[in-house]
Amino acid sequence: MNNTQALFAETFLQNNRLDHVTQLMGYHPQYLDPFLRTQNYILKGDGPLPFDYRHYIAIMASARHRCTYLVKLQIQEFLRQEGNKEWLNGLHQVPQKLRDLDELNKILAHQPWLFNKSHIEKLTKGKDNWSLSEVIHAIILLAHFHCLSTFVFGCGINPEIDLNEGHTFQHVTVPCNTQAINDCDSTQVDDVGVELLMLKMKTISEQHEESTQEERLMCFQKEQNQSAELISGFDNMSLPKSDVQRYTSDPDFSYQDFARHREASEITTFRIQDYSWEDHGFSLLNRLYNDAGTFLDEKFKIAYDMTYHRMGSKNNVDTSTFRRAIWNYIQCLYGIRHDDYNYKEVNELLEKNLKTNIKTLCCYPERTTKSDYDNVMREFRHSEKVHVNIMMLEARMQAELLYALRAIMRYMT
C-alpha cells in the first residue's frame, strides 16, 4: 500500500491531478509503476515530437474510440503545452502533417493487419514529411491511447470531477458513454465458477494429448470464426454522433473480423515466432526511439507475468494458463498466432460471456456497458477484473505495435 501511495503522490505532483485511471490501477502498483513511467516518457520525456503534437495525437487516438474522458484530459494537457486552440476545432484545422496521421490512426485502431510499408512511405515522403523516429513516436502514442481507451471503457472510469458530468449525480455510478443496452440481463448467466475454472486449468496442465497440427490450426481458425460470431448482433448498431469525432475521419471504419478478412484477401496470419516483440520489435524500436523499447518491454513483461496466485476467494492458484489464454485470445482477435499454443484452451477456459466482453472491449470499446462489467467473472474480485483489463490493454498494444514495427522494418529493408 505504501508503494501505491508513493506512486499516487508522484503522479499528483507531475500531473496536478490523480486521475481515475491511475487510481484504479493502484490495485496493481507493480504494474502501475512501469505504466506511469512509460506514459510519462512518451508524453513528457525526450522524444522527436513536439509536446503539443504529442497531446494532439493522443486526442486523435482516444477520439477514434470515442473515449470522451481521455479526449478531455488530453485537451487540457494540450492547452497547457500552449497548443494552438484552433486545432481543437477539428482535423481540418490542423497542419497537413498531423492530418496525414489520421489514416494511420484509423488502421491501427481497428484493423492493424492492414498496416503496411506503403503507409510509412506515404508519411515519410514529400514536403514537411515525418521522420522515421517521429513516426515511431506517433505510433506508440496512438497505440497507447487506443489501448488506454479500452481500459477506460473496460473499467467504466468516471469523468474527473472537474470535467463535464463529473459532478452530476446520476452519472456517478454509470460509466461514460453509456448506451442503453438493457438486454444484458436477459443473457443467461453461464459464467464459470472459479472452482470449475481451476479444475479445467488443472486438467489442461496435466493432459498431454497429442493433438495433431491440423487440429491445432483448426482450433485457431475456429477461435477466430467463433469470435466473429460473438457480437455480430451489434454490428449494425450505430452510436450517436459525438463531438469528439471531429478529431477523426471516416467514423464508420471499424473492426472487422480477421477471419473474414483473411478469406477475402491475401493477408496472412501473423506468426509470433517470425516476428516477436522480444527479438525484433524491441531492437527496432530502441534503435529508432531511444529507451522507449526498454520502457515498453518492462511494461509488457510485468503485465504478462503479474499474478497474485489467487482467483476470487481461492489462494495459491497458478493462474498462468488462464492469463495466457486471455493474452493469446486477444492477440488472436488481431490475427496473431502463437505456434506453440493450443487454442482449444481458450475455449475451455474462457466462457462465452467473457470472450464477448473481451472482444467488445478490444474491438468496439465504446459499446461497453456497466452490465458488461458486472456480468463477467462474477466470482472474481474487482482487482482481478482490473487485472484482466490491464492484460487487454497490453496484449492489444503489443499486437498493434508488432504490426506497425513489422511494417517499418519492411520499409527500412
Binding site: 497440427q213 491440423e214 506468426r271 527479438d279 525484433h280 505456434d339 522494418m409 529493408t413
Partner: protein
Amino acid sequence: MVSKSIICYLDGPANALAINRDSTQVVVAGRNVFKIFNIEEEEFVERLNLRVGKNLNLNFSCADVVWNPVEDNILATAATNGAVVTWNINKTSRSKQDMVFQDHKRSVNKVCFHTIEPHILLSGSQDGTMKCFDLRKKEASSTFYSLSESVRDVKFSPHHYFLFAAVQENGNVQIWDMRRTDRYEKQFTAHTGPVFTCDWHPEERRWLATGGRDKTIKIWDLSMKPMVEHCIQTIASVARIKWRPQQKFHIASCSLVIDFTINVWDIRRPFVPLAAFNEHKDVSTGFAWHHEPHIILSTSKDSTLYLHVFKDAIRPADHANPIGLDISCYGDISYAASNKIVRNGRSSFKGESYSSTKLPVFFRKHPSASDQFRSAVSSIFVFKNDGDKFLSMTWFIESARRYILSGRSFAELCEHNASVASDLQRPHVAQTWRILKLLYNAVPNLGAEHSWGVPSVGSISEMLKGIERDEAFDNSQEGSKSSRHNSGNTFKNRHQSGSKQSSRHVSGGTGNGVATTDRPDTSGATDNSTDSEESDNDKTITNIASGLGNTQGDFFFGDGETDQLMGFQCTLSQAPTIDSAQDWNLPGEAFQPRHPIKDCSPPPELDNAPSSPTSFDEDYIETKSMVGINGEVYDYTKLLMTPEVPSSPAWVFNDVIVDMLHYFAAQGDVQMCVSVLLVLGERFKGFVDETTQEQWFHSYIEILSCFQLWNVANKVISLSTISSISSLNQQSTTIHTLCGNCRRQMTRIGWFCDRCKIMPTQCSVCHQAVRGLYAWCQGCAHGGHLQHIQEWLQYHPWCPTGCGHLCEYT
C-alpha cells in the same frame, strides 16, 4: 575444392542451417523450407527435400536445425510449436521424420547434439526449461529448470563431457552439469536484456562467447570467476555467433534486425570487422563454417543460401586509414599515419616555426596470413613547436604567472597587467587593461569630487592619446555632444518664451546637461526642485549661486576666466580630449535641429556617489543656479554651459565591456575574460550572466591545470565570487584518520573507531582521547597531548606508558 561464392534460391525464408561433419552437405530449415543440398564445386545440388508427405504440420516449421556430429544420417530440428523432431535420412520411406518429442510447452529455440555421444540431444525452450533427450530410449531423460522466462540457446561444451551452457532471456548465462538436474553449476549475468546465443571456443577451454540484444559479443573466461576477456560492439542485436575453425581469435556473427551482413571479427580488434559478407537482402538467420576456414555458408529471410569464400569478403579495415593526430598543450604536434598515406615514411609540415625534429618510426606488424588484418605499417612524427607562433602558449603561461589579480588598488592592478601584456608583445591586451583602468578608475573620481587631481588628468590624457579610439566611444561622444548643444539652444528659447511648463522642460534639459558633466544622477532631483520652487527661483538661486561660488572654490567660478575654465574642462572630461577642440568651437552655431536626448539619461551610478556626501548638494546647488539664471545672465550661462560640452561620462560603457569580454572569449582567450572579471570584481557585477562566467572560469581553470599551474588555478578559484567555482577547492578536503587497530578510516569521529570501539589516540599520560595535537615518540610510538608530554618530560626521561623507552622528542 570450392573456390568461389555460390548462391542458391530457396522456396521460402529460412531460419537456420547446419552443415554435416565432413562439410559435404548442408541442410536449410525454415517455416516452409526444409532441404538438404550437396556442396559441389560450383553449385548447390538439391539432394533431399524433407518437407514431404501429406501431413505438413507445424513439426515441419523449424526454428533451428542441427546435424549429428557423429552419425551423419541423423538430424534434429526445433519446431516453433514446441516439438523436438529427429530425422533419419537413411530411412527408406519418403518421409524421413523419425521421432517427435512434444515435451516442451512452448516454442523450442535451440537444439544441440552432444559432441561425442550421438544419442544425446539437448533442447532449450521458451518455457524456461532445457530437456535432455536420449534417442535410444526415445524419451526425455532429464529436465533442467532455468528459473527464467525462456532459454534462448544451449551448447554442449566440446571439452567437457558433462558440461553445457544455457543462455537466458533475462541476461543470465548458466553452466550446467548434465548429471545434476536440480541446480546449475555456475550462473552469471552476461548482458543487459536477453542473451540470444553462445558458443564454446573449439580449442581454448576457458572461453565462452555470448551475444545479446544489447548489441555486444562478449568473450568470457570461465576458468575462475567469469570475466569478460573481450567485448565487441556491433551495430545491431546479435542473433548467432560461431567461432571460426583453426583461427583462434576469429568469430562470426549475424544480427537479428537491421544489419544483414555476416561479420567476422578478430576479437583483438573489436571495432572493425575483419571481414563482412553482405550479399543478403534481408536479415541473415543462420550460418555455418565449412571445415575449411575460408568458407562460410549462410542463409537468410530473403530465401537464399550462400556459400561465401573469404577472398570475396569485404574488408572494412581496408577502407579505414589508420591515422592519428594530436596537439600537446605546448603546441607540439604529433602525427601517426600508415605508410600508405605518408609516402616513403616521411612527412613534411607546411609552416615555418615547426621543426620535425624527432622521427621515431615504429612498425606494427601482424602475422601476415592471407586472411588477417592487413599489416599496417605506421610512422609517427613529432613536430616540435619552436617558433613562437599561433599554437605556442608561452604567452598564456607567462601571463598566468605574472598577472596580479588582487591585493592592490585597481589602477595598479590594471597597470601591472598591462605592462605584463606589453612585455609579451600583446599590445592589444595591454591597451585593454589600460582602458579598463581609465574607465573604472576615472568615473568614481569624477562623480565624487570636483577637485580633480590635476596630475592624474594629465596622465589620463596622455595615455589616451595612444589609445585607438573605440567606435562606440566615438558615437556616444557624438550623441552626447549634440544633445548638449540642444540643451543649450532650448535653454535659450525657453527663457525667451518664459512659459511655466516649458521652463520645467528646459530645466530638465539643462539639468541633464549640467548633471552629466559631473554626475548623471542629479537630473531627477533638478526637475523636482524646479517644480516646487518655481516661484521664488530667482532669489534662492542667486543666494545659492553665491554660496556656490564660495564653496566651489577658486578655479571653477571664482576667477570667471572662462578661457581657463574651458581649457581645464577639456582635460577634465575623461574621455574625449582630441575632439574637444572642435567641440569647443561648435557652440557658436547655435541652431541645430533638435535630437532626441537619448544619451542624456544614463542609468545613475548611485553606488559610486555616496563616497562624498557633499557632492550631491553641490551638484544640486549648481544645477539650480543654472536653472535660475534669467535672461540677463544668459550669456554667462552660455559660457558656463559650453565648456562642459565635451565632458560626458553619461556613456554607459558596461555594455562595451561585456562585448569586449565576449570578444576575448570568442578568440579563445578565457584568461583575459577571467582576469578582467576578477580585477573588476564588484565594479562589474551582474553584467555577464553567471553561467557564462562559470564556463569561463571552468575553462580557464582547466587550461591552467593542463599546464600544471596549480597555484594560479587555486588563486583564481578562491578569488571567484561565483559560489560553484569558489567551492571547487573546498571539496574533499578532509583527511581521515586511520584506526591503528583495524586500519580503517574513522569517518564519523576522528578519534573514535566505530568498529573496534576504542579510542586509538589515547594520551599515555591522562588516558583521555586526544582530539587536537598529538605528540608521540618515534621510538616507541607512545604519546599523547602535547602539553602533557611536555610536562611529563620535564621530570621523567622515559616513556609515560612504562614501556621503558627513553623517549626523545625533537
